[in-house]
């Protein structure tokens, strides 16, 4: 089943005067249930813009974007907020946790905005934190956690609403290689559990974790390919 359907998505930025920057110049992509897709491309290729549009943080200038068969290209701010809340789990390069709140509250936050009551919230958040292996760190604040642990909190926050897609933007960019690998293993597990993952990265070896790679260049899709089953690294 298709979750994401992009048709001729274009995004222009008005830079003042007659000048326009064409960040996306016509993207057609379909992403189905339980896919694991990496979006790659050099800086300026439009991958951030595409991620923002897929993540409903931004809307395309023209083109059609259907999310679970619903047209979201013309939705207003609050409608998009609802989609982001219920259907999309974000994982950012810089974690983007609330610094003053502990892990548990950070994970609960999307559920608060979804209007779920306190006991259910707590149960789901604990479950998500357990899933990422942080059951013993729930009361710690982000500055009391290591980088890898912070990213796990962020992943738990992304998972807690059982969204249709997990959207990860350079999730290992701020981590050392070993920790980064651990995080990628976690994504693999999450994928195996049936989740759909979209990964934005410029690192080839990170992208290779995915089953499909979409390469962008100058606002257009250059390559959209299945990844052949690769040998696991680390001599496994």
């Amino acid at each position: 089943m298709e979750i994401i359907k992009l048709q001729q998505i274009k995004k222009y930025y008005d830079m003042g005067g007659a000048e326009e920057v064409h960040a996306l110049r016509g993207i057609d992509v379909n992403i189905g249930q339980n896919e694991y897709v990496a979006i790659m491309g050099p800086s300026g290729s439009g991958k951030s813009t595409l991620m923002n549009i897929i993540g409903c943080l931004d809307t395309p200038t023209t083109g059609l974007y259907e999310f679970n068969k619903v047209n979201v290209s013309d939705m207003n701010d609050d409608q998009l907020a609802k989609i982001r809340n219920k259907e999309i789990g974000f994982v950012f390069q810089t974690f983007n946790l609330l610094a003053r709140s502990n892990a548990l509250h950070n994970v609960e936050l999307p559920l608060i905005y979804a209007g779920i009551n306190k006991s259910e919230r707590r149960r789901l958040a604990m479950q998500a934190l357990e899933q990422v292996g942080l059951a013993d760190r729930v009361m710690h604040k982000p500055n009391e956690l290591s980088g890898g642990q912070r990213q796990r909190v962020a992943i738990a926050r992304a998972l807690v609403t059982s969204p249709s897609i997990i959207l990860a933007d350079e999730p290992t960019g701020n981590l050392d290689t070993k920790t980064g690998d651990e995080i990628m293993m976690l994504f693999e597990e999450i994928h195996k559990q049936g989740n759909t993952i979209i990964l934005v990265t410029h690192e080839e070896y990170i992208a290779e974790h995915a089953k499909r790679i979409i390469r962008l260049r100058d606002g257009l899709i250059e390559v959209d390919e299945r990844v052949k089953h690769r040998k696991l690294m680390n001599g496994e």
């Binding site: 923002n52 993540g55 943080l57 931004d58 701010d77 609050d78 907020a81 609802k82 982001r84 809340n85 219920k86 974000f90 950012f92 983007n96 946790l97 609330l98 003053r100 709140s101 936050l109 999307p110 608060i112 905005y113 979804a114 209007g115 926050r157």
Partner: protein, 407 residues
């Protein structure tokens, strides 16, 4: 996400933010604290002046009319009233004889004479000659002994009833009842003491007075005097009807032709109350305007700091929006924060004003009106919402992509 959730989460975030910036929050709050203190102290002062006045006005007695040459609240040039004929005792007698809506009639005359007891002397006592009915046609009350009796009053006996200040001056350490005071050159025996009235500016009060029978008064000080006639209306009688009846009787007694204007005035407590209320309303309006300005300045301080707070937390706003906070949610969050800062300021202001009002009570008997507590809280909430709105609105409109990128 429902409204209650938003409020609850907003409160949580607000307390976090205020705790995280303690010094800043305290300094910001200071503006509101000062505003609320000045508003409540203003209200307390007005309450004090009001109470003082109510107390003084009650000395006149409700439902008591005063027939005099002068109106208490003058509309014309003073000379117009001064040139009127004196009101003689005869008018009081005519009223007593003919009026049907009247409970008590007490003519009274006043002069200032020194009053002595042994070595003690009171130079400016108001000697008042009146009748036994005076106690029913005034706001005075006997605290000890009794008032003049009918026999004493008609017979012109040398007895007197004295006000509270007279007691304080002449009898600091002893019971005055039964003692003799010298009024002018003649001795009068004290038969009663009046309750203290206080009274505004010490003028309209029985405290400085020595009441003697009117007959004794005219014998001692002469009978050609302008008389004030106190009249108590019958219970349940319409005061306007009573005044109309009195007018008729007095006009006849003074031989006025139908074309002549009244050359007397029927005063009542209500006139003073009305005039005074207008006066306090002006003070209140000016006072609240000035103190309101300080609140306004405090509100600007809040707005300023909320703008800073929004800018500082742009990234946080971005995160919240990315994971599903709607515009309204963000708006409410910041409104709650500014409201709480103001509310804390308001409460702190009240906590500071309360002992100040007790202090003020020593100078001018007053109390912080309970209503001002509610009003102060509402005002601080309104200031919070109004001054927080613009920053909160700006926060709610932030584009999540830009906000997330903000460092």
């Amino acid at each position: 996400m429902n409204f209650l959730f938003e409020i609850k989460e907003g409160l949580r975030i607000a307390f976090f933010a205020i705790r995280a910036n303690k010094l800043r929050s305290v300094l910001t709050t200071l503006g509101i604290v000062i505003g609320i203190v000045s508003v409540t102290m203003m209200a307390t002062a007005i309450e004090g002046v009001d109470r003082k006045f109510q107390e003084s006005a009650s000395a006149f007695g409700a439902n008591v009319l005063y027939v005099q040459k002068f109106p208490w609240v003058g509309h014309e040039d003073w000379s117009v009233y001064r040139n009127r004929r004196d009101i003689p005792l005869k008018v009081a007698e005519d009223i007593e004889q003919h009026a049907t809506l009247v409970e008590a009639v007490a003519a009274n005359v006043i002069t200032v004479r020194p009053t002595q007891f042994e070595e003690r002397n009171m130079k400016n006592a108001f000697i008042t000659g009146t009748t036994y009915q005076y106690i029913y046609a005034s706001g005075t009350n006997v605290s000890d002994g009794r008032f003049l009796s009918q026999e004493e009053s008609n017979g012109g006996r040398p007895v007197c009833v004295i006000g509270a200040n007279v007691v304080e001056n002449l009898f600091p350490n002893q019971d005055p009842i039964g003692k003799f005071v010298k009024v002018g050159s003649l001795p009068y025996q004290i038969i009663g003491v009046l309750a203290k009235q206080g009274g505004l500016f010490g003028i309209f009060t029985s405290d400085n007075r020595v009441y003697i029978p009117i007959k004794s008064f005219t014998n001692q000080f002469g009978s050609k005097r302008d008389v004030t006639i106190n009249i108590a209306a019958k219970k349940g009688a319409d005061i306007e009807d009573v005044k109309e009846e009195l007018r008729g009787i007095i006009r006849k007694s003074r031989g006025l032709k139908p074309s002549d204007a009244d050359d007397f005035y029927i005063n009542e407590q209500e006139m003073l109350v009305t005039t005074f209320s207008g006066f306090t309303a002006v003070i209140a309006a000016v006072g609240f305007f000035i103190t309101g300005l300080s609140l306004f300045v405090g509100g600007i301080g809040i707005m300023n700091i909320m703008f800073v707070s929004v800018t500082e937390r742009t990234k946080e706003i971005g995160i919240r929006k990315a994971i599903g906070a709607k515009r309204r949610t963000i708006l409410i969050q910041f409104l709650i924060e500014s409201s709480i800062i103001c509310l804390l300021g308001g409460l702190l202001g009240l906590i500071i004003s309360y002992p100040l009002s007790l202090l003020a009570d020593k100078i001018l008997p007053t109390a912080m009106p309970l209503s001002i507590v509610g009003i102060a809280i509402i005002i601080s909430l309104v200031v919070g919402v109004v001054s927080g709105f613009l920053p909160a609105y700006r926060a709610s409109r932030l584009n999540p992509v830009d906000a997330l990128r903000y460092e």
